[in-house]
Amino acid sequence: MIKVDENGFYGKFGGAFIPEMLYPNIEELRENYLPIINSSEFQKEFRYLLKDYVGRPTPLFLAERMSEKYKAKIYLKREDLCHTGAHKVNNTVGQIILAKKLGKKRIIAETGAGQHGVATATVCALMGMDCTVYMGAVDIERQKPNVERMRILGAKVVPATSGSQTLKDATNEAMRQWINNPVDTHYIIGSVVGPHPYPEMVATFQSVISEEIKAQLLEKEGRENPDLVIACVGGGSNAAGSFYHYYNEPSVRLIAVEAAGLGVFSGKSAATTSLGKLGILHGSRTLLMQTEDGQVVEPHSISAGLDYPGIGPVHAHLFDTGRGEFIAVEDEDAMVAGIELSRLEGIIPAIETAHAFSALNQLSYNASDIIVINVSGRGDKDLETYIKWGNY
């Protein structure tokens, strides 16, 4: 069984390794999040916003040309059609309603590529909440359009200037600001990472993805379970959402695709399950890319959204138990797969998502298999990277 225990552990991964200053914040969340999100009042508002604001359910689309090429029945779960262009908003809608019920007045968030930052700024505008997004100074330079989107939406974007000035440092900075503002502020973490209860809470909000896949597949194929579900993994929120209702369905293969960057062992990679060792980052015990001395290593991927040195504890557990199959895809192969999906199906995917598609080249499966691939985000934000790569 893949299930979180009462202390927030999935097997040996997870927990809440936080300084005491954050304990009251985390404890307040831990005690309240389940009663709140299980209440009919919350569910009513959450379902309403997912439907009429986010645009759910997102389609499950039979990709015929891809199916023909890869000799299987391939369905695409179109999270790229969510408002703001990625699955990230499922979580921010859930957390902002939760924050309101907890009586919080302001929101802080971290962001890497800016997708989670935009999704957070969006729901804050919707709810009239004050919003500050921490973003690595290096990422602010790399992702200017998303910075401006957040500003247009009324959020403050604050550069994280410590360390490597990327996603992990933005997360550090958001945690520091939460220490400094413990009472009136809610921290919306964007992935299935961080101290318990964040990984399970974010996965719960994202689980709408696999909930819909089940219903849609039943309608189209007369069965709820595909043979394979494929999703890319940075921290792992779209993968957790895609796998959630299949964790305990052993006939469904769960394929998690990590970013190998310039090659798993090139020193420029984000393939955490290949390179990581047990460690502690951002409040959870998980697999972590680190030096012999326990210093966190800066990862590399062409996609900023996969550029994280750790992995959500649930994914570490899927890896450890063998329940999940982990595949690493290099930058170049991901770009090729992104172009291929564009040409075969008329869908330009986010480069994160393109990694999931490239995995088809590494997997073996049967021609009769039904494969669901999560199209976690659209490629508009990556246009500059596609152009710079140029090979199309």
Binding site: G163, N172, I179, K277, G279, I280, D293
Partner: protein, 258 residues
């Protein structure tokens, strides 16, 4: 006898603990800084183990961590620097650091090494109490290391009692809802918190840290507790120092001497 126990047995007021980051400003500064702290008359030396992701620290200590790592500091290097410290330093020595480097070193090896070089206690801010009790305490006990937990103004009375029960060195009172960093004055709200905790009559001594920077804030904090801890302000002294030993001694004497 453990030097932390010994200290609190003979002294219960105006205890000054000085924190610095190992490997800052220069890699081999560790022992000279310790000797200067002792010569100046402080009571405890707290050595920070540098870490790439110090989430409870403000800009000053973040920077000192980064500089120290770039200088080549590591836990192994630090232990080699401390190997003979007990020939030259008599004060209680506490290591403070984030959990991950300790986990990589191996918790039992780490505790054993601490004992071997003469470290007296540990502060690992991101080690939660339940994990401490189930996985770490046996090693702390085996190697006679005192454990310090933190509390903050938001910590509930119930939680403070629990922490008091499982602390055996001193309680580290974080002075405000804040990360580390030098601040100017202590507010009435903070004083009310100091007073509230004082009136709880805990079994452990209390030292107040975060935002203590000068004689005034030290005296003010120490009047509500057994003493205080200075970190960021001391790092700033090290950063600016031209004659390190002389300036360390002048700074510390300026805080404790009447």
């Amino acid at each position: 006898m453990n030097r932390v126990d010994e200290l609190f047995k003979k002294k219960s007021t105006n205890i000054l603990s000085i924190y610095f980051t190992a490997g800052f400003p220069a890699l081999e500064d560790t022992l000279p800084i310790m000797k200067a702290i002792e010569a100046a008359g402080a009571d405890i030396i707290e050595i920070g183990i540098p870490y790439s992701d110090p989430i409870a620290d403000g800009p000053t200590i973040q920077d000192s961590n980064l500089v120290a790592l770039n200088n080549g500091m590591s836990l192994r290097k630090l232990f080699s620097q401390l190997a003979d410290m007990r020939k030259e330093v008599a004060l209680p020595v506490i290591l403070m650091g984030y959990l991950n480097p300790v986990v990589q070193y191996g918790i039992e090896d780490f505790c054993q090494k601490c004992k071997e070089v003469g470290v007296d206690g540990l502060i690992l801010p991101d080690l939660p109490m339940n994990q401490y009790l189930s996985e770490y305490k046996p090693f702390f006990d085996k190697y006679d290391l005192r454990n310090t937990f933190l509390i903050s103004p938001q910590t509930s009375e119930h939680r403070i009692r629990e922490i008091d029960e499982h602390t055996d060195g001193f309680i580290y009172m974080v002075s405000s809802a804040s990360i580390t960093g030098a601040k100017s004055a202590i507010s009435d709200e903070q004083l009310a918190y100091f007073e509230r905790v004082r009136n709880m009559h805990l079994k452990n001594p209390r030292l107040i840290g975060f935002g203590i920077s000068d004689r005034a804030s030290f005296k003010s904090a120490a009047s509500y507790s057994h003493g205080a801890i200075i970190g960021s302000a001391f790092i700033n002294v090290l950063k600016a120092a031209k004659d390190q030993e002389k300036e360390i001694i002048a700074y510390i004497k300026g805080i404790i001497n009447d």
